[in-house]
Subunit: 349 residues, 2 copies
Amino acid sequence: MRAVVLKGNFEVVVEDRPIPVLRNSQDVIIRTTRSALCGSDLHPYRGTEECAPNFILGHEFVGEIVEKGADVKTFKIGDKVVAPFCTCCGTCFYCVRGKTSRCLQGQVFGTAGFPGALDGAQAEYVRCPLADSNLFICPPTIPEECAVLMADIFPTGYFAASRFLENLDELDRRELTVVCVGAGPVGICAIACALTMVDRVYVIDPVPSRLEQAAKIGAIPIAAGDDPIAQIAEVSNGRGADVVIEVVGNLQAFQLAFDLSGPWGKISSIGAHSSQFQLSGPACYGKNITFAFGRCPVRGVFEKALDILVQKHESISFLYSQIVPLEDAAAAYAAFEARKTHKTIFACN
Amino acid sequence: MRAVVLKGNFEVVVEDRPIPVLRNSQDVIIRTTRSALCGSDLHPYRGTEECAPNFILGHEFVGEIVEKGADVKTFKIGDKVVAPFCTCCGTCFYCVRGKTSRCLQGQVFGTAGFPGALDGAQAEYVRCPLADSNLFICPPTIPEECAVLMADIFPTGYFAASRFLENLDELDRRELTVVCVGAGPVGICAIACALTMVDRVYVIDPVPSRLEQAAKIGAIPIAAGDDPIAQIAEVSNGRGADVVIEVVGNLQAFQLAFDLSGPWGKISSIGAHSSQFQLSGPACYGKNITFAFGRCPVRGVFEKALDILVQKHESISFLYSQIVPLEDAAAAYAAFEARKTHKTIFACN
């Protein structure tokens, strides 16, 4: 089969690899129809996330089950499925609480070289373990390239937004000052979700075209170079942000989120950070601040996120309308790294 | 009147000061009957919190209203009242949300030299601003020296515990691994509250007598020198703590809280931190960790905390049974600093 393989920093190639085989009775083999290029694929691509060379990239995909282990009960050959990027067992301490991203047996597609390593899905076929507790039937109400977003970035956006915005009362819906730092693909998903929970979301990004896209779905854009801290202070009667959704995953973005936050500010940070943070204890105390970090439990939030995606998918179709052949992966990585493209979908079969 | 005054690092004296007078129409003057020595009084005492010299210490008190401004409606002369340590207006963005500790007009008793400064209550009289939105009638069901705990440390303990433990389902009540770092007075209050929310609370402290007192009210003691990280890992099937209540407010305690935490760990930190924190971004992401910092909104949590104190006050009577004359303040500060005493109550009148 053909597969997108990381050879070294900033170097991916499409090459022949063996079609994966079942390794245990809960596995399925999936013939990938669509996979996607995600911001977090750029971490190993840039070398900011250490990993073994020569592994197959990609953790967002939909496809058709072509082979299944003897203990797979819920799915049959021919089912069209979408797979959360982090696998889960459904029964451990975390899974029973919906916190599936830290499942005790969890693995992440496309992260060879790490504990929990699993070959990626930017390929014609992929092996998925723990199929029954992991997969979802591909939602029939949205296009399959849109369903790819349900593997990671749309639930991740939902998770980022919902941690501090779910179930607000009317007063908070109307009055909270909510800011999204970052208008890349996850930022767009987070904004789409947040706007079902509060009346207004501000968005900060250095890239004008990204801000424009965020504005089209209803966010209020602020250029990163245009003193966002002063602007947010002004629109919040001097308070600062009440909730910041930080989707970038670097130190600068996190620091901006902190500086934007007012008293009782809450920061929902979902990027895979690679830096050290230096935080002022007196400022943390003085702001009564709350931070939440970490990986989205896709399975745990899947239904709620899907409800919103089904409602809103046409307004964010730019996230899944750029479909290129798998063979063009090298150019797609380079363009995404240069922020020339938003989200790229690979046609794998 | 007689008042406890900070002269410099580790130096307090009891000296004569003028009886305070009304400054505006919402003020009252209170004849203090009991005030208390709090862990956070040690910050200016040690010089780790910068402040002007020669100010009156103390932010925990009960007393009787002896004079009131023209606009005070809720209270009358002779009312016995307890005052949250941070004052609040009742109407600002934060107050209407119960987040009264960051009231836009908020001041803290006994913090002269800071914005929001207000003379302290370790004195025979104290002026309280914004009386209607600030004061509570002293609960008749508990002794007045116990009611002093409602000014700060008992609600603070409640706040520390409830942020991540309130409204748990039965499974979490039974299964969560909850650790309190610190068994000083606030730790005792936090444990008393947490044990109404979960079945088990572990407590870590270096002082054996404090651990013994925590054990008496139902916590499971772990000596700080006895590899608490390994012990907590063992009792949590290798996960680590699910919730850590950090009541110490220094870097070492915070770092321990972080290291104790497992995946999806939540740290409720209520100390007034004075250090810088160095946090690992990959560890924050990898643990899906949540931190919450800051000052307790006493008014916002008052009723819920009081319900627990009324139930449990006899079991923590050691926190309010050491009553000494105000004139003994210098010795009381020195003994508390040396961790020879738990909580000291001053008889002021």
